[in-house]
Amino acid sequence: MSDPILKIRDLSVAFSQGGKTNLAVDHVSFEISKGETVALVGESGSGKSVSALSILKLLPYPAASHPSGTILFKGEDLLDNDEEDLRRVRGDDITMIFQEPMTSLNPLHSIERQIGEILQVHRGMSDSEARKRVLELLHQVGIKEPERRLGAYPHQLSGGQRQRVMIAMSLANDPELLIADEPTTALDVTVQAQILELLAELQRERDMAMLFITHDLSVVRKISDRVCVMQAGRIVEQGPTKEIFDNPQEAYTRKLLEAEPSGSPPKTDESAPVVMKGDDIKVWFPIKRGLMRRTVDHVKAVDGISVKVREGQTLGVVGESGSGKTTLGLALVRLISSEGQIRFEDKQIDQYSFRQMRPMRDAVQVVFQDPFGSLSPRMSVADIVEEGLKIHAAELTAEERDERVVRALQEVGLDAESRHRYPHEFSGGQRQRIAIARAIVLNPRFIMLDEPTSALDMSVQAQVVDLLRDLQKRHNLAYMFISHDLKVVRALANEVIVMRNGEVVEHGPAKQIFDDPQTDYTRALMAAAFNLETAPEGVVSQ
């Protein structure tokens, strides 16, 4: 192997806040050679991003500091460099792709300006030269009809296209090292597969070094040559990818490898009573144009879908983002208005007003995707969990309420004492448990789970899946489980609906869908989710 171009020795990063110092990265050492991909893996908060950001000194100094370490890039210590020298390196020799393509592009600049800027800064290109180079780059990253896209603004592009533009930006000056910080986490599985393939291809072509940060081990296995496993600011194990996956030495690595959601759903029971039933559900949003705001067309978010959820069973709803999964779920629990019959147990609820629905809200519950957004930051955990009880079990005394809150928290595996604390003191997984406790405390019959695991680390996902299955068995709950993550769905669902553009592509028992998918679209989803393979063009979105 050739000489490494980036050598990190004993790097530590400390953050000081309010007189307290906290070591985020603790004596980390690794190196990257030309043409090699090194993956940094670990759960959130393990210090992977902080290590990567310190290579370009992008941390919030002076709150952040480096008590020890050197970062040698081609023999030069980047930590000693001043801003001026660093600016020369940033965007030229070393470039970076960030996680969130929504926010890492400036919404007010056209694609041409975004990419052209760094060409003009580092290469001093004229406008016409830059335009030529931008077209070439857009072509390389697989954007179709790049000439037409030059004037486009970020909001006119899909998530995958935006991430392609980010990649084009980072490749503009032929960098020697590309740092990719969770570049596919925010994307759909199908798009993730495409982006990974693109990155691997570009890296091979240019013989570039790549530092790839992710929490997803299947991505690591697919793309990297070597792996560094990080835990609590330290690298616990590093080595060639194959060795680590085949023969992990550390307990933590083994734990990560085993963390995939596993298990199987409860037995399918066709005779179980139907709890929630929707017939030909339509949610159309009008598109209004002109002076008189006439309705010229509709966005058909959900277009004629029928579902049935049985007691103690789970209906999985899968599809790419924008396919209408969440809209369908919200329509069923009557949080948005829709057309078509909805029956909950023996009541037909599609015509109920919000006020009429209120007495039934304890039986129909929702768990949302983002555990950071779904808990009010100003209420203690006890306040959050007991809020529903105050409405639906108003006859309870304060002690009885407290008792039920404690029981619900214990049921989701949280310490009863944690009810006096505030949401920000908890990790993502714990917060999602609180959100589940909030639903469980009301003894619901039906729970709509809207991507409850998507914002969580892999190992935490597995725990939450186990918890959900456990609760389902104990209380005979009916679940509607919405997710784009097929691994999680496979571990939970009895029956699966595959959605695309508001319509059902495929519908059937989970086993049949997973083992023998009938449509190209479902097959593409499976390939992307389980093997990170891309589909033939036209089957999935870009």
Partner: protein
């Protein structure tokens, strides 16, 4: 980074439970930030002391004693009116006692004692013993001879003592400027506080409804507010003040018509932003009603913006009251009013103590409030860190 936040709050939580105020960590941080702004923190205490003192203005500047011991009995003239015959027997015939006249002081001195406030004038007491035609200079600018010239026994008069000094002179109706400043400060601050409190309640409620429901409610209300706030407020105030009988509450009501609008914008914006937060949706899914969602989930978000805004509205209302008084259209004649003092200062340029006293009291009051407001705003700024 995440880790540091956790350790920080964990170490802070126990302190919160043992403290006299059970504050959430975020409020503790705000309190720390407020304290870290030295100027604002000291302003807060100075203002608080001045305000509380001024609430007891009757005990500081009054033309009657706080406590009188007379013939073995206690009297509290601060709280109660006593007719003259209590002290003078048959000779007294007036229904209220003037404790400054010689007969009374002598009678009290003979049969007991009296505790006087440090300043022996109320805001409407006319000092008949001033050495020259009103407005009279502050007493310490005269020598003893001149100061006592108008008392019955001159230098030897028992009433010509330091308690009867006009520390800041008198105005053109021979009323003590210091007493008027103290009472004027109280009226101004109370007026400002009450007005701000009422406008906050109305403004927050209006903004909350608009932001929460959006759509037509918002559209119609916004247009109404646009028209309402484009009215020439000062002229309307002048006209209404001329038509309606002058008084503290009438003035407050008229000004309230216009000040609440200031809060609507910020509160509405916060509600518009927050009404689609996931925890608000989660509350809807629990079946929580609109009013409860607005109070429990959304209002705390809007409180930061509102609290930041409060001190500036407070200052604004005090200034408006003062300017109305200055124009003679504010509080009824004879009330303790800083604006009226300023106006007298303009009419009596030969008596600079009038204008200067008014100026210093007003600027001290407004500066303190602005410093407090600044510190509050910084304390609520989540990005601000103090060393």
């Amino acid at each position: 980074m995440e880790g540091s936040a956790v350790t920080l709050t964990r170490t802070e939580s126990p302190a919160a439970k043992s403290g006299w105020l059970n504050l959430s960590p975020i409020n503790q941080r705000r309190l720390e930030n407020f304290k870290a702004n030295r100027r604002g923190y000291w302003s807060f205490w100075i203002f608080l002391v001045l305000f509380i003192l001024s609430l007891f203005a009757e005990f500081i500047a009054n033309d009657r004693p706080i406590l009188v011991r007379f013939k073995g009995e206690f009297y509290a003239p601060v709280f109660q009116n006593y007719p003259e015959d209590v002290f003078l027997g048959e000779e007294g015939f007036l229904p209220t006692t003037d404790y400054k006249i010689i007969e009374i002081t002598e009678a009290i001195a003979e049969h007991g004692w009296a505790i006087w406030p440090p300043v022996r004038y109320s805001y409407r007491t006319v000092n008949t013993e001033i050495p020259e035609p009103a407005p009279a200079k502050p007493s310490w600018l005269y020598d003893k001879e001149a100061r006592c010239a108008n008392y019955a026994e001159g230098v030897n008069d028992p009433a010509c003592i330091i308690g009867n000094w006009n520390w800041l002179g008198t105005d053109d109706q021979a009323r003590d400027v210091l007493a008027r400043s103290i009472y004027g400060f109280r009226v101004s601050v109370l007026f400002g506080l009450i007005l701000t409190a009422f406008s906050a309640v109305i403004g927050v409620a209006a903004g909350a409804v608009q932001g929460y429901f959006g759509g037509w409610v918002d559209l119609l209300f916004q247009r109404f507010i646009e028209i309402w706030s484009s009215m020439p407020v000062l002229y309307i105030l002048l006209i209404l003040a001329a038509v309606l009988p002058p008084g503290f509450w009438v003035l407050l009501g008229i000004m309230l018509l216009f000040t609440w609008v200031g809060f609507v914008g910020v509160v509405r914006a916060e509600f518009l932003r927050a009404r689609n937060f996931e925890y608000v949706n989660a509350a809807r899914a629990l079946g929580v009603g609109d009013v409860a969602i607005m109070f429990r989930h959304l209002l705390p978000n809007a409180m930061v913006a509102t609290l930041t805004f409060l001190p500036f509205i407070l200052n604004g209302s005090i200034t408006t009251l003062t300017s109305l008084d200055f124009l003679g259209l504010g509080l009824p004649p004879g009330s303790a009013s800083l604006g009226e003092m300023m106006s007298q200062g303009r009419n009596n340029l030969q008596a600079p103590w009038l204008g200067l006293s008014g100026f210093f009291v007003i600027s001290l009051m407004l500066s303190l409030l602005i410093f407090i407001g600044e510190a509050t705003r910084d304390a609520f700024d989540p990005r601000k860190t103090f060393k």
